[in-house]
């Protein structure tokens, strides 16, 4: 029978199944970071349990780490959390890319970069954006700390088999439209809980045409659509990306692995529980105006009116969001001034993202009322960008060039947007207070954020790009 990739990977990982119970699922890769793991290690110690397969774990420090003056962490509680991860990894024998390690970076950036992320794997991490790794055709999902402890101890999880959903993006993207715009448009169209209880497979011509880095951006925000995970069937693009990376099989073993990976792709005629479709040519550069990722519109549009919504609860949600965001119904998106720009996060801090942003700003200056920072997703990304001279372009334009980490995406470190100020951000969440108490976040692509930095307000990046071609 024809199977989709989700069913194939799931079935391959069942350790034990019994009617009336969730499946006991084997986990191939467990990624860890400093914020959601300390209580799990403490739980192991209290119960005198071991880490079953430290060789299938990989840890790094990203959420809390400063992006400048790394040697002196001012916040003693943050410092303790970072030190605790070091101690735990030492004690339990888990490989760690700590702050001084050349492989350090945002956990979802370094997994693929190092080739730890591979098609067909089950991958978990105590972080909801674990869905990023699905870009390679892996089932990858975020878990809580109790589940982190469970995986450390048993290398398995009890999981009810999720439903499957195909999100098909037909046709080709227009000029200046990016992977970020695809995923924001999908969430705006189908809602923030469209994927609850499902794993999404993204399909269609527009997806096939994306690079691996772009595919990661799409899968990264599957969780913002409420999905358990999001993935894309592997193809030659996937194989070409992985070849030669640190942790993938080498030489003949790679060819063998690649053949297995390609065979995981969804079979012709396979079914899904749910199928939705969006036309690539109806998507334009996107900006969010509200307080969750579904509250966004194309740049040529405006903040909606309450009258645009049918249900009372949606009207109420719009009003609450606009009060928080300090916006008026009907305001054109290009009329909104900003004070901050953040180019970073596991969604959009890979080399191609920095290249896209740098192209827009080259030879221009950041608007005088804007503070703009670039936070590369990993030390490797930072180094590669510097080799290409991107840092010089950003610095000349007036951007700050920082060390890698999660940074202003969730503002656990010192990178915080002040209350009442507005940030054009390439991250993934615009929830109230996400980038700082009272801060106002607008999500968009790196090119759009870069264009906003120059203009001091939201602009249609296509107008700037047209002059560059």
């Amino acid at each position: 029978m024809a199977k989709n990739i989700i069913e194939k990977i799931w079935d391959q990982h069942i350790v034990y199944e019994e009617k009336g119970k969730p499946d006991l699922l084997y986990i191939d890769l467990h990624l860890l970071h400093e914020v959601t793991s300390p209580q799990a290690f403490e739980g192991l110690r209290l119960a005198k349990r071991k880490v079953r397969r430290p060789d299938l774990c990989f840890a790094t420090m990203d959420h809390n780490v400063p992006t400048r003056n790394r040697d002196a962490i001012k916040d003693p509680i943050a410092k303790k959390q970072i030190d605790t991860l070091q101690t735990n990894c030492d004690e339990f024998g888990i490989p760690l890319a700590n702050m001084d390690h050349p492989d350090q970076g945002i956990v979802h950036i370094i997994g693929p970069e190092l080739g730890l992320t591979q098609p067909g794997k089950t991958i978990v991490c105590g972080d909801s954006h674990t869905s990023t790794h699905g870009a390679f055709g892996a089932i990858s999902f975020g878990i809580g700390t109790s589940e982190v402890e469970h995986v450390l101890s048993t290398q398995t999880l009890w999981q009810a088999k999720p439903k499957t959903m195909e999100v098909r993006i037909t046709g080709q993207l227009g000029f200046g439209v990016t992977a970020k715009d695809i995923i924001l448009a999908i969430i705006a169209k189908f809602g923030i809980d469209m994927g609850t209880g499902h794993i999404i497979e993204f399909t269609g011509e527009a997806i096939r045409n994306l690079t691996m880095e772009e595919r990661m951006t799409v899968c990264n925000m599957s969780i913002e659509a409420g999905a358990k995970a999001g993935l894309i069937s592997p193809d030659e693009t996937t194989v070409a990306y992985l070849k030669g990376r640190k942790y993938v099989p080498q030489d003949c073993a790679f060819e063998e692995a690649a053949a297995k990976w390609l065979a995981l792709a969804t079979d012709e005629g396979a079914n899904y529980d749910t199928v939705v479709e969006i036309a690539a040519n109806e998507i334009e550069p996107f900006v969010t105006w509200g307080t969750n990722p579904s509250m966004g519109s194309g740049i040529s549009s405006h903040v909606p009116y309450a009258a645009d919504f049918d249900s009372e609860s949606d009207k109420e949600a719009l009003k609450k969001a606009l009060v928080y965001m300090g916006l008026q119904e009907g305001a054109p998106l290009t009329s909104i001034d900003i004070q901050h720009v953040f180019i970073g996060s596991c969604t959009n801090a890979r080399l191609s993202d920095l290249r896209a942003a740098s192209k827009v700003i080259a030879g221009k200056k950041v608007h005088p009322s804007v503070t703009a920072i670039v936070v590369p997703g990993s030390r490797t990304v930072k180094q590669q960008a510097e080799q290409e001279g991107l840092d010089a372009i950003f610095l000349a334009a007036g951007f700050e060039w920082r060390e890698s980490g999660c940074s202003m995406c969730l503002a656990m470190n010192d990178d915080v947007v002040p209350a009442g100020e507005r940030c054009a951000s390439t991250s993934n969440r615009n929830f109230e207070g996400r980038q700082g108490a009272g801060a106002r976040t607008h999500l968009m692509s790196p090119a759009m954020a870069a264009a906003s930095a120059i203009a001091g307000r939201f602009v249609d990046v296509r107008e700037m790009q047209a002059t560059l071609v």
Binding site: V15, Y16, G20, K21, P22, L24, Y26, V35, T36, P38, Q39, E42, A47, R49, R52, D75, I77, A78, K80, Q81, G126, D127, S128, F141, G142, I143, G144, T145, S146, E147, E149, H150, S153, T154, Q155, T156, W158, A160, P162, I192, D193, T196, G197, I223, G226, K228, N292, S313, A317, K320, L410, A411, M412, A419, R429, F431, E432, G433, R434, A437
Partner: protein, 195 residues
Amino acid sequence: MEPINKVVSVITPLDRKNVDTDQIISKEFLKRIERTGFGQYLFYHWRVDADGNEVKDFVLNDERFKDSKILVAHENFGCGSSREHAPWSILDYGFNVVIAPSFADIFYNNCMKNGLLPIKLNVSEVEELLANGLQHASAVEVNLEEQTVIGLDGKRYSFTIDPYYKEMLLNGWDEIALTIQYEAHIASYEELQRA
């Protein structure tokens, strides 16, 4: 975790949908390395304004709901971040039950590992509970064994829950201890992978 079966309490009506885990517990409070002590930070930026004063019209600051053990909210409760600090803070604050028409997947799972009972009722039932709760500070009895929520006015709602999770919650079981009993299956799976 503590076993849970019956909970009788006035409900706290949180009249919002898509309540995300960033609101439940804000990131500045995630730096502790313990599982305890998060209750004081629950919904912090909705409870306390920028000057440190209580937000008078926020439901958790309403005296009538002070001793409530049951939180009720609209659809998609617990969306966003996987932080387990969210159920930890809800439990530590004093709630044992959250009722909503739907929950985000990771949050729902996290509740199950901590003895916090998430109950799904349909939209109209939740709206009824919220309306009653806001008007009269009404109380209900939650019974996990029977899978019911019964208003003190006699109104009865029933809910479904996966039998595996129900058993876990009723008994307060340690899931890892249960899984370790499947060690032979795990070992033979690993053996097959190596072959």
